[in-house]
């Protein structure tokens, strides 16, 4: 076996590929948590996108929803911490009252901003892409303004972050599959909730009355209205509920990942989420898989910085400039998107404002 791998690795050019495969199988268990941690906010954003687009509303504003939620999560948590102190963290996840209040504020913000998007795109019937863009610009402007006004002058502002779940060692040490537990469960509550929410929404969307109605409204609102579904109401409800996911994604960035707020800290994740929705064919499971795929590049970067590969592969890796890894998730998203579009069909009524009593 060892001889075989040594032989394969020594083949010119192609050998590097085998070395890469060997390197990846060796490191993936170690860096598995990075995958999920990096993919969690994108997966949550994608769930928001699915809620919107399945009911026929395009949402380009996920980025702005995430950013504004990240901001209120941080600010509210910090202000509560300042007012009543952090108290003793709970044994699970290290949750404190301020962090939990901040989480609630983030969810509320996500819903509020979504309500604005719903109003603009459903009631006002503005172009939905313009509406989403305005939400992005508004979120960027307001958070930068308030950041400068409130957060920057008080550098000590902060409420700490959720702690990752401590897994019992017997679970992690199970051979072959132990790393899976570590990869998916050694996280804070929001990242873990992603797994539950993805499964939940997948079932809800395809196995429940609500799901059937939502998909009907997204595919053929006229037909849905004919059988007595209130299209406008259902779209409003789904867009606003979708805001919960964007809110969680924002809270994840400030209350679980970093513990601070920076301008534009979402860094395009809301848009990668949109690509994940398309590549995942408008299904929660597919979008989650897409998010994991997009951030495999990030995991690779961490792997290389933690344990640099040796041999020919090491030489290749050293020749690649570090900026390459920064661009990789976006490039991967781009390539995958180009390959997926056309083969994955969006809900038929997506982007079309619905007006009662008019011809379609």
């Amino acid at each position: 076996m060892d001889q075989l791998s040594t032989f394969l690795d020594s083949i010119p050019v192609l050998g590097v590929v085998f070395q890469l495969i060997g390197y990846l199988t060796a490191t993936v268990p170690v860096i598995a948590p990075v995958f999920v941690a990096a993919a969690a906010p994108v997966a949550l954003g994608a769930l928001c996108g699915i809620m919107n687009e399945r009911s026929g509303v395009v949402n380009i504003g996920i980025e702005g929803m995430m950013l504004s939620s990240a901001f209120t999560a941080f600010l509210v948590a910090a202000l509560v911490a300042q007012a009543i102190g952090t108290g003793t963290p709970s044994p699970i996840f290290g949750a404190t009252v301020p962090i939990l209040v901040g989480l609630g504020a983030a969810i509320l913000t996500g819903m509020l901003v979504s309500a604005l998007h719903a109003w603009l795109s459903i009631s006002i019937r503005a172009d939905q892409i313009i509406s989403g863009t305005i939400i992005n610009i508004l979120a960027f402007g307001l958070t930068s303004y308030l950041n400068r006004l409130i957060i920057s002058p008080n550098p000590r502002l902060g409420a700490g972050i959720f702690q990752p779940l401590g897994l019992p060692s017997f679970l992690v040490d199970i051979p072959l599959i132990g790393w899976l537990f570590r990869g998916f469960l050694a996280h804070g509550p929001i990242a873990i909730s992603v797994l539950i929410l993805v499964a939940f929404l997948q079932i809800w969307l395809f196995r429940s009355r609500w799901g059937l109605r939502t998909r009907a409204v997204g595919e053929h609102p006229k037909a849905a209205e004919t059988v007595g579904i209130d299209v406008i109401k259902l779209r409003y409800r789904n867009v606003i509920l979708g805001g919960i996911f964007a809110g969680l994604a924002g809270a994840y960035l400030t209350l679980e990942l970093s513990g601070s707020f920076q301008n534009n800290m979402t860094g395009g994740r809301g848009f990668i989420a949109l690509a994940a929705v398309i590549f995942g064919r408008w299904t929660p499971l597919g979008a989650f898989g897409a998010a994991l795929l997009f951030y495999s590049a990030e995991a690779l970067r961490v792997a290389i910085s933690l344990s640099p590969p040796v041999g020919d592969l090491g030489n290749v890796v050293r020749a690649i400039p570090p900026e390459f890894y920064g661009a990789l998730p976006y490039a991967l998203t781009l390539v995958v998107l180009v390959a997926a579009v056309g083969r994955s069909v969006p809900p038929a009524a997506v982007g079309k404002p619905y007006a009662r009593e008019t011809r379609a």
């Binding site: 006002i124 610009i137 508004l138 848009f271």
Partner: protein, 384 residues
């Protein structure tokens, strides 16, 4: 204005040529007024948050400082023009896209890549004769911008990937590419931080005051050129047709794929001029972390200007004035300059919710739809 609706004969501002301008400009102007009122409210609230008491005069002080900083002196006025220059070019870039039903939100990447290309070529030709050096660096920037705009155009034309997602991805990729270029092949030795070399003869000449460079002339010239292209040339007619109704355009024998790629390249080219002139005329060298929000600002300009070149020029001057005056406002009234971003976004909010604005100001609805409302129709792989 309110009793105009009941009068049988329309007042002069609703008739003829003036009436046409009024019909197009009424909602944008009303949106600007409303946004300034909302921002005044935000200023009041933030004064309460920071000081604990409401200073009712603060909005007046702030807007006074803003006006003074934008128009109060000759240098203020020139600064407004300087700030408006990239906004005119960017606004035209986004506006041209809107006319073709394309939404280029990748202006930032196109701008940054063009700026880097211009800085690199400019530094390489620092000792060449000025006309050659300047022309070559400008061309390098234009080409880089056009190429970076062409990519999402080609992706859309051939695979149907929507430009809203692809251009954003290309923005992030551009940030990495310029980081690699500036810290690698274009790195100038002998500085304490990573930057490109001195421009020497490639620097754009100053033509007015002490900061109005040749790029301002390019921006001013671009307005009528783009207007002519869009409204007086066959190509412009085709661009507008594809934007208004892709399938009708195809049946009429136009080439949507070519037009999509051409328009995105043109859009990138205009962002490229903006990037190149900002470097060659204002910053004089490029750094990896060069900060710009031109992509979003240009969208705001194009929307406020109704995608019309002359409207875009007016909107760019307004936003240029806001940016030029914001510095003085921060000094005199203690309002962070980021309030300009808030005003900008609020204007857009009112533009989108134009039904509300119309009701408030009793403005009649326009005839026909604006090209902006066709944007979403091409979303997610159903390109024309």
């Amino acid at each position: 204005m309110s009793d105009a609706a009941v009068r049988p004969r329309q007042p002069f501002w609703r008739r003829g040529r003036v009436g046409q301008v009024f019909e197009v400009a009424a909602v944008p102007v009303a949106s600007v007024v409303l946004a300034l009122l909302v921002a005044a409210l935000i200023i009041l609230v933030s004064s309460f948050v920071t000081t604990g008491s409401i200073d009712w005069r603060l909005p007046l002080v702030a807007y006074g400082a803003l006006l003074q900083g934008a128009f109060g002196s000759q240098s203020a006025l020139l600064n407004t023009i300087l700030q408006a220059t990239p906004l005119v070019l960017g606004g035209l870039a986004v506006g041209v896209g809107f006319k073709a039903g394309l939404f280029n939100i990748g202006g930032q990447g196109q701008f940054l890549l063009a700026a880097t290309a211009a800085a690199g070529v400019g530094a390489a030709l620092a000792t060449a004769p000025a006309p050659i050096a300047i022309t070559a660096s400008l061309l390098a920037g234009m080409l880089a911008g056009a190429a970076w705009g062409w990519i999402p155009g080609a992706l859309k034309a051939f695979s149907g990937a929507h430009e809203v997602v692809t251009t954003i991805m290309l923005n992030s990729i551009a940030a990495s590419v310029i980081g690699w270029l500036i810290l690698g092949p274009l790195l100038a030795p002998g500085f304490s931080f990573g930057r490109t070399g001195d421009l020497g003869n490639s620097t754009l000449p100053i033509i007015l005051g002490n900061n109005i460079h040749l790029g301002v002339v390019l921006a001013v010239a671009a307005v009528p050129i783009v207007w002519w292209l869009l409204f007086r040339s066959t190509l412009g007619f085709e661009i507008r047709s594809v934007g208004a109704n892709p399938s009708a355009a195809r049946y009429a024998g136009m080439r949507p794929r070519f037009l999509i790629m051409f328009t995105m390249s043109l859009s990138g080219l205009l962002f490229g001029i903006a990037g190149a002139t900002e470097i060659l005329g204002v910053s004089h060298f490029m750094i990896p972390s060069y900060g710009t929000s031109i992509g979003f600002d240009a969208i705001a300009v194009a929307l406020l200007g109704r995608s019309h070149p002359f409207g875009i020029a007016a909107a760019a001057l307004l936003f240029g004035a806001l940016r030029a005056g914001a510095g003085l406002m921060q000094v005199l009234a203690g309002i962070p300059v980021e309030i300009v971003d808030v005003i900008q976004a609020t204007i857009l909010l009112f533009l989108a919710a134009d039904i509300v604005v119309r009701r408030l100001f009793r403005i009649r609805a326009e005839r026909g739809i604006t090209e902006v409302q066709t944007m979403t129709s091409s979303y997610a792989g159903r390109a024309g």
